[in-house]
Amino acid sequence: MSRRVLDLGAILRDSKTRVVVTCGSGGVGKTTTAASMALWAADAGRKVAVLTIDPAKRLAQSLGLEALDNDPRRVDIELADPKGELWAMMLDTARTFDEMVAAHSTPERAKAILVNPFYKVISTSFSGTQEYMAMEKLSTLAATNQFDLIVVDTPPSRSALDFLDAPQRLSSFLDGRMIRLLSAPTRGVMKIVGAGFMLFSKAVTTVLGGQMLHDAAQFVQLFEDMFGGFRERAQHTYELLRAPGTAFVVVSICEADSLREASYFADRLRAERMPLAGLILNRTHPPLAKLPLPAAEVAQEKIERSAPLAAAVLGIHTDRLAVRAAELHMRARFDRVHTDLPVVEVASLASDAHDLPALREIGRRLTAA
């Protein structure tokens, strides 16, 4: 195959690489991949932090993470290179938001914001808040210069790349135009938006209740002078993501839905001129024995009764060849569209990876190129 192979080893080892962001749809092994890359880089002697979003319990435990914790903790393990360090943290969305509010406002004002019921809605369930906070945390961590490399896992977004859009969406939502319109529509405004709005405003008030709007209006007022700071920050994060020291990797399994999402991620990252390093094709099934399908099928049928165990082993082999054929077909389709995107395949482990040896094995497979 003539296409470029994604050389993750070179990327993770390179002292110029400061941030690696993994993205992809849910259930493709993003978190595990991020943890494996971080461990590999730490083994190579770098000081690495891995920022995870929602790790499986056992994976979290093997990284020494017991609960949501907003500061990286050092993982107590022996690394191949004693100069290396591995730090890990699990993102606490609400707390990150609280911290951001505190950093951008006076203590009294921050207190008033934190108790506003509307703030609770925004900081916990506004779609995109988690993505936004992941990037916010990344930005904060990067600014400390405490780490050689930060590996960030992203939430499995409902719509791909919410983390790029969320700051923009959140601030345009919060900039208060709509809330002011709804809570205190003045004559001048009414001329512009027309009589339909009056009805709408009435309807919204009927549906949501006046208290809700009141809380929202108060919240926006409190928030108002923080907007400048927020926007600046969002812009700063965006620039960090675009900087040469950042590498985005898209993670996908070799199935149609997941690859479709991956394709979308790749296109979108390129459109935003984000540094896309390549695609990790996770959990593939290359055959481990050189035995062509026809020979295996003929033999399997022949020895079904006389040697059932050998026949079963051949059955496992033919299944695997069928899965592999489907994977290659999927991959060929993807490759035709993304001709110059470097790809690395990571063969599936037998079990879910949740201990350090398994993470190391994945790290080895990731960097085998």
Binding site: V121, M178, L208, D257, A289, I303, A311
Partner: protein, 376 residues
């Protein structure tokens, strides 16, 4: 596969004695590893996973962790329920257009469209609920506000309202679903025999269905409030049942178990657990552990292969043995996961992993599998 096949297989369980797990395809699929529990007398192995309550329900809510194949399973279930001339609506509530992709049709508008024909003349229609459109629909009905709808949408007013009160969003979605479940045709009969909802993932589904909580977001006396009360009645009635799709893997199983508890706490009726993408074991049970530990007798394996005309060198034998080990480990891990699911006491439907199954052919195949396990 002809549609007659699954039904031809169906009578088999009746002719087989109750205590013979594994004697029928159904038991082999549904309760393969649960056979031991039969002896304990706790789980009747021949119990029909599609219980009377499932059969009675008209709104089937399908949830599952992201990546478990929830949409595909919901579509397969809709197709199975639509056999014998019935009409089923498949509803999507997250505006992802997953149904359109699955059935290979253009993105669905906010409108019910026929997407598939089931055996026996039944049909599946699909609806992708657009929250903004649903809210404007309300405003049109209650405030005659249709004309201004478009400009309001453009201003972001609707998105604003649903963001301000996320509960409103859920009430609008479930409200629309309720309307489809209870809708009568001109003949005064129900338009849909069943409605299958591709619901939000496990992490969100209890909040989504717990409309009562969301109602605190909504003004007490508004029209949407009384609508929401009707939704609560429907969701807690025998007309509704929730199915959970899971893979036999750690994270999805843990989430499934947690969600079952939360659903039960919220007094929402749980129907079945639908295991998706299960590995069908190739190895006899006694060989699983030796195979998993890579202790298969290689000279015996070589002899067996030789009978089939294959001369295997050491590299090939090693490769085959490692493949068998990976398969066996997978099967054993899945059996552990399945045991945890069995412990819930809920009926389990089981669907195999399909090679290249993400297309419409796969949906029909899974639908046949559901029919074979008694879904009707």
């Amino acid at each position: 596969m002809t549609p007659a096949e699954p039904r031809a297989a169906a009578p088999a369980p009746d002719t087989a004695p109750d205590n013979e797990p594994g004697a029928t395809p159904k038991a082999a699929i549904g309760n393969g590893t649960a056979a031991g529990n039969g002896k304990a007398g706790k789980v009747a192995p021949a119990r029909d996973p599609w219980t009377a309550a499932c059969h009675r329900a008209r709104l089937h809510v399908v949830t599952g962790k992201g990546g478990t194949g929830k949409t595909t399973v919901a579509a397969a279930l809709a197709l199975t329920l639509a056999t014998e001339g019935r009409r089923v609506l498949l509803v999507e509530v997250e505006e992802r257009q997953g149904i359109a992709r699955l059935f290979d049709v253009p993105p669905l508008p906010y409108e019910e469209r026929k997407v598939a024909v089931a055996s026996g003349g039944g049909e599946v229609r699909a609806l992708c609920i657009d929250v903004e459109a649903a809210l404007l629909e309300y405003f049109q009905i209650f405030y005659n506000l249709g004309f201004a709808g478009r400009s309001l949408k453009k201003m972001g007013a609707v998105e604003f309202a649903t963001t301000l009160a996320p509960g409103l969003r859920d009430v609008l979605l479930t409200g629309k679903v309720k309307e489809t479940v209870t809708r009568l045709g001109s003949d005064n009969k129900l338009v849909y025999d069943a409605v299958v909802m591709d619901a939000p993932p496990t992490g969100r589904v209890v909040t989504f269905l717990g409309v009562t909580g969301a109602m605190s977001d909504i003004a007490r006396r508004g029209p949407i409030h009384s609508q929401a009360e009707g939704v609560v009645r429907l969701l807690h009635s025998a007309d509704t049942i929730v199915h959970l799709v899971t893979l036999l893997e750690d994270m999805p199983v843990t989430e499934t178990l947690e969600t079952i508890e939360h659903l039960r706490d919220a007094d929402l009726p749980v129907g079945t657990i639908i295991v998706n993408a299960a590995t069908v074991s190739r190895l006899p049970p006694a060989s699983l552990t030796p195979a998993a530990e890579n202790r298969l007798d290689k000279s015996r394996l070589a002899a067996g292969l030789a009978q089939g005309g294959i001369t295997a060198d050491d590299a090939m034998l090693d490769g085959l043995a490692v493949q068998a080990a990976e398969h066996a480990i997978r099967v054993l891990d899945e059996a552990d996961c399945r045991e945890q699911l069995v412990a819930t006491g809920l009926p389990i439907l089981s669907l195999p992993r399909l090679v290249d199954g993400g297309d419409l052919g796969g949906v029909y195949e899974l639908s046949d599998q559901l029919a074979e396990q008694g879904v009707r």
